[in-house]
């Protein structure tokens, strides 16, 4: 036992944990939108992942407008010329996704508000297919490279600290003797997700709109009787959920650097899984679920095998739900009579 303990490679474990946290945080950003919409209207918004995908395509187009997508341009560009377009992305894309999400709600889901539950679900699947085809039309069938702006702005220095290595992102732990890699990208993803989650949670807990949202989630009819404009609350929810997907798109494009029309499906599926795993409707739960999935993926790849990671994520999900039927942080609501 002691030998096993000593032989255990803590560097591997630590590195895979960092990888898992980063991927988990990205999934969590998308899951936040899922969970908020579900909490209010009890709709599994299958189009959410594809909304995220369209956000990524817009980010790519925006970056191309500034000429950052041409080969060899980034190597000589000073960091401040990269920062501008990136900040613009962080402004424009959440707005775009929020607006699109709201539009979809008003056009597609609102007329079905009182229909049987499966009707909006199937409409969501339909919207998902439409978005996917827009993505196909927009970006073509191939995966497209998103320029590695983070690495260009914060490049790795070589061992003597003089020469910079283009195309490789800076490792913040390079000077420590842990042997770990915690890059600027990892820091950025976690640095965006955690504040967003906290802000969202404070918003829901303390603002008037947030309280109205919680009231609507509990009982829309009663909320309406109390003078809450339920339609407006639902609209705000879709706006916030869309904005979260928008932040997710920018972060995803900046860290993983690939944009393709099929990316919405897989990421949406993981995000949906994360939301349910954490207890659907619960903001902290969505983030926790995302991180669990990220860790299962990275540690599964290290200790079980890359080819089984996807199966492992869903197997873990089934096992957790068998023992905690309302997700990790979900509360068991008694059945209404």
């Amino acid at each position: 036992m002691l030998v096993m303990w000593a032989a255990f490679d803590w560097t591997n474990f630590g590195q895979q944990t960092i990888n898992g946290l980063t991927i988990g945080a990205l999934i969590a950003l998308i899951a936040l939108g899922y969970t908020m919409v579900y909490g209010i209207v009890e709709l599994i918004n299958f189009a959410h992942g594809d909304l995220f995908m369209l956000g990524c395509f817009l980010a790519l187009s925006l970056v191309s407008v500034f000429g950052l997508n041409e080969a060899g341009v980034l190597a000589t560009m000073p960091w401040w010329r990269i920062l501008g377009p990136v900040l613009l992305c962080f402004l424009v894309i959440p707005l775009f996704c929020a607006g699109l999400n709201l539009a979809v709600d008003r056009v597609v889901y609102k007329p079905l508000r009182n229909a049987p539950k499966l009707a909006p679900l199937v409409s969501a699947i339909g919207v998902s297919f439409i978005f996917m085809n827009i993505g196909l039309f927009w970006g073509g069938a191939q995966d497209v490279n998103f320029p590695d702006l983070v690495a260009a702005a914060w490049p790795e220095k070589s061992a003597d600290g003089e020469r910079i290595q283009t195309g490789i992102v800076r490792n913040l732990l390079a000077d420590s003797d842990t042997g770990l890699r915690f890059t600027v990208k990892d820091a950025m993803v976690i640095g965006v997700t955690v504040p967003l989650m906290l802000a969202l949670s404070l918003f829901v807990s303390f603002t008037k709109t947030g309280k109205a949202m919680r009231a609507t989630a509990q009982n829309p009819v009663a909320a309406q009787l109390m003078g809450i404009n339920v339609d407006w609350v639902i609209g705000v929810t879709f706006l916030i959920g869309g904005a979260m997907a928008g932040f997710g798109s920018v972060m995803y494009a900046l860290t993983l650097n690939t944009v393709g029309y099929q990316m919405g499906f897989q990421n949406g599926l993981y995000a949906f899984t994360a939301a349910v795993l954490g207890g659907i409707g619960n903001i902290y739960g969505a983030v926790l679920g995302g991180i669990v999935i990220g860790l299962v993926r990275s540690l599964g790849s290290e200790y079980v095998g890359e080819t089984w990671t996807s199966a492992l994520v869903f197997a873990v999900l089934i096992v957790i739900l068998v023992f905690r039927p309302s997700g990790l942080l979900g509360s068991r609501t008694p059945e209404k009579v």
């Binding site: 599926l269 080819t307 199966a311 999900l317 089934i318 039927p325 309302s326 059945e335």
Partner: protein
């Protein structure tokens, strides 16, 4: 039962589909326009119809949101593959494989259903989806058993004693075989709908709490519906694998197929047999049969005869 006043649509459809292949001229006429044979294309639709009826038992009657029906379809296809291809020593032929595939898939349904059916609506939906993904990846990765990405072939065509084998290779026999299975599944569901079991299922769908107050064992009844759906989907999978002579590859049994089945069902109307089949007729028919024909028609007929001359006239 009172005679319906309007024409009996399901019967009219059935007669149309049954008579159509008996008149070879019709299919040949169709072929000259579209380069496609309906006798070859339509059995796929029949099999899809059986799959949709299977899902109808779980989603339509009991109200279990089931997002993983394609996994059971795939399990049925792969059981058939293992039992019939020459690479394995079994080679038990179509009929035995059909029985084993049905029962084996139902058993899988039981294994996943027993621990998870107590979950609430959307949590259960995700479990069925997750199970389907696990099945897909397992088929893909268990290379030694399932052939992994290359699937298993050749799966032999069914034999009926007394009938010549070419009848089934030529696919007109297969057309009627799948049609017969579809009708059988339809009648079986009609029978169940009117039975004690079917009425109990609908009661659970309408109000689970009230149903359990009336003394129904909700857990067992839900499990029965889930297992029944799995078994029928397995039978459809067996037919599918036989129809294409191969288990295809694991990706043929992914989430997209589950969603397409669900869409057919919801388009046609949950809980209605005729609706389910009409949904298949519209969606599957459009997606798999009509839209390729329109493509061919557009590229081969419309484009050269209308568009190209028009463009030429306008110097484009």
């Amino acid at each position: 039962m009172a005679q319906p006043k309007y024409p009996n649509w399901p019967m009219a459809f059935l007669i149309a589909f049954a008579v159509f292949p008996l008149v070879p001229a019709l299919d040949e006429w169709f072929f000259t326009f579209t380069n496609r044979s309906l006798v070859q294309q339509v059995p796929g639709m029949f099999i899809f119809g059986i799959l949709t009826l299977a899902l109808n038992a779980a989603v339509g009657y009991v109200g279990i949101l089931h997002l993983g029906i394609a996994a059971f379809f795939g399990i049925g296809a792969y059981i058939t593959g293992i039992l019939t291809v020459p690479a394995y020593p079994f080679e038990i032929g179509f009929w035995c494989a059909l029985i084993v595939a049905t029962l084996g898939t139902a058993a899988f349904g039981g294994v996943i259903g027993i621990p998870t059916l107590r979950l609430r609506g959307d949590y259960l939906a995700l479990v069925t989806l997750g199970f389907a993904e696990v099945v897909k990846f397992s088929i893909q990765n268990l290379d030694a058993i399932t052939g992994g990405p290359r699937g298993m072939n050749p799966i032999p065509p069914p034999e009926i004693i007394g009938l010549p084998e070419p009848l089934f290779v030529d696919s007109i026999g297969f057309y009627f075989l799948t049609l017969a299975f579809l009708v059988a599944a339809y009648l079986l569901l009609a029978r169940i709908e009117r039975s004690r079991l079917g009425r109990a299922w609908v009661a659970i769908r309408e109000d689970e709490l009230a149903a359990s107050c009336m003394g129904l064992n909700v857990g067992r009844l839900k499990l029965a519906a889930f297992v029944f759906a799995a078994g029928l989907a397995g039978a459809a999978g067996c037919l599918y694998a036989t129809s294409i002579g191969s288990t295809a590859d694991p990706n043929a049994y992914g989430f997209n197929k589950s969603v397409l089945v669900l869409c057919c069902l919801i388009l046609g109307g949950l809980g209605s047999r005729n609706g389910a089949l009409f949904g298949v007729f519209c969606l599957y028919g459009f997606d798999q049969i009509l839209s390729p024909i329109i493509d061919v028609g557009f590229n081969n007929k419309f484009l050269p005869t209308v568009i190209t001359p028009w463009l030429a006239r306008h110097d484009c």
